[in-house]
Symmetry: C2
Subunit: 401 residues, 2 copies
Amino acid sequence: MGKWESFFSKDTQLLKSSEIRDLLKLTEGRNVISFAGGLPDPSTFPVEDIKKITNEILESKSSQALQYTATAGVSELREQLVSFSNLRGISNITQNNIFVSVGSQEALYILFNVLVNPGDHVFVEKPTYLTALNVLRTRRPEFHGVPISERGPDLHEMERQLKNLQSEGKKVKLLYIIPTAQNPAGTTMYMEDRKYVMELASKYDFLVVEDDAYGFLVFDGDNPPPLKALDKEGRVIYLGTFSKILSPGLRLGWIVADEEIIREVELFKQNVDLHTPSFNQFIAAEAIRKGVIQNNLPKVKSLYKEKRNQMLSAMDVYFPSNVKRTRPVGGMFVFVWLPGNLNTTQLLQQAMMQGVAYVPGNSFYYDYSGTNTMRINYSFPSKEEINKGIEILGNLIKSKI
Amino acid sequence: MGKWESFFSKDTQLLKSSEIRDLLKLTEGRNVISFAGGLPDPSTFPVEDIKKITNEILESKSSQALQYTATAGVSELREQLVSFSNLRGISNITQNNIFVSVGSQEALYILFNVLVNPGDHVFVEKPTYLTALNVLRTRRPEFHGVPISERGPDLHEMERQLKNLQSEGKKVKLLYIIPTAQNPAGTTMYMEDRKYVMELASKYDFLVVEDDAYGFLVFDGDNPPPLKALDKEGRVIYLGTFSKILSPGLRLGWIVADEEIIREVELFKQNVDLHTPSFNQFIAAEAIRKGVIQNNLPKVKSLYKEKRNQMLSAMDVYFPSNVKRTRPVGGMFVFVWLPGNLNTTQLLQQAMMQGVAYVPGNSFYYDYSGTNTMRINYSFPSKEEINKGIEILGNLIKSKI
């Protein structure tokens, strides 16, 4: 026991399960090909545009951009996010429906704190984004899982569970869902399924937290509008992020939601950090206003599509045929199922010794099932690293089956 | 009751007491002289230096500065903060003792979440920084107050209470204290009192959260080293901020603490927002490395000293003689005691109608006492506004007594 451990609050006990992060820390500075993170390719950062914008901001509005600003976000950015949301088909909103956060991670953190009590019934996809799960876990809800198939979440299964809960007199609080280019599964829901989710939400009266992190990064097939665009009752809370379309280092995300929910989030954020950095918000506002982000997107999508293709080809060559994998239509990840007796957490240390890292997939399951799965990132590694890393991983898997 | 109110978590019930903020929001865009905020004078922002620095960063290390970085902070800034801490007399630390946060507000938020359980015994000064109190309140501790006199906290009174608690078998968890240019009282503790606090902390085995927000902004008298410089046991957790010495809009603060505590804070922050903006951290690192902050401080201190003098002179002219006030040796605020029967919360609406705003002082007392006090900011308003605003306020007070 550490010297100060007896001083830590009970809440910290929910923060202990970080063996994977500790393990992955070992890759830092070592010659390991990492498929573990979710980093954008830095060649996609519009550096020259950002430089021009920062100079303009410091010349014309430094006394605002370097000063304290409002908790919900600076008006200039909220206004731009209204029109930027229109690009995704979200209309009928004003800047009072917009809230700016320190990455969409902070939006998830605040929303789950504002909405979830211990014991609340919460639906998540199986698998789903692990850091959202980590935050949710600290709220100690009762989890219910919606299995993901090739067409996205199995909504019939979800309806079956909703009916059961209702018959037991239990009320569902919310669904956390990534309808487009799902992380980690790479699936995008059909329009009819999106409507179905909205019908279920209305019928069973729950809120929907819609994570649209990859909504602007769909490079294959249809890209139907987000659930928020179909939301007539104000029950969808939409999350966007600049991390994948401008720069993660600026730490900027946003929420689109009913004003009543925005006000509650604002009160909570006042305690967390007063407000999101003003300078960064002015940069993002100008990057939208000037069309920097919009004009950069085709390049980003085409690069990630190439890298995905490279990754899938390498898997076709080096992975044994009884390994199942997704064919992501967007985003940054391939999800992989090994034969059921293989444990990807146990495999990780060996993989790292051989020079390749990934995230074991069970972290993406609220119940830590999926022990034979792994998430593989293709946006950050180079094409050469993709090829080499998949060869190493394929040989390791073959040696185990 | 709002449409979604039944969906809000129990924790949000602790966030409701914001009448003052709602009231002060009414000043926005109106012609009101505001003594309410804690904003730096924007003329102190080293805009040209920041412009030069941002250009250099975007030219030479954009792929790090715009990318995801480590949760505890970028190595470049943590290293600079080691030497910057030395300027305040804090030595024998490495960058593993440094943690970078989104303003020192986030440091307070995470620390109090990591350290305080409901019912824990926590000491605070009376009065003390209101947003720290707001965060502490959400942790539902048992508060104990240390009254502030002209020489700072009354430590004999604190020792008396510590003895009582000990005799009742109760253990104290922590003390939150602002030893230098206290907010709102403007006092700086003598060296002997600082040693006395450290003896009490050791004897009664509690942690000390030391808020040094104004440690670089002392313009009168001695500026003894912070408690952290006297800390032999690792029980002081030191908080610094760039908000008053570089720019609040960058939202950067830092913690200096024992490595074990840093690791716990890091785990918690991973959930809150993954990490503090990388770009901003590189800016601050360069601003220290190039001496921008160090060279700017004399100008900032001299401006705030002038403004404080202007404020005190105006109070001497316009305030009735039975109004008591502090003579701050640093920082940004004067604290004022009206005759005991006057309620500054009730007075605020009238003051605002007449064109001047302040923060009612009872928000700075954990028990909401101090109903006849107010906090007056002098760093942001111009000298003309200081004079005019104090005249209005003085006349209003005179009309009430």
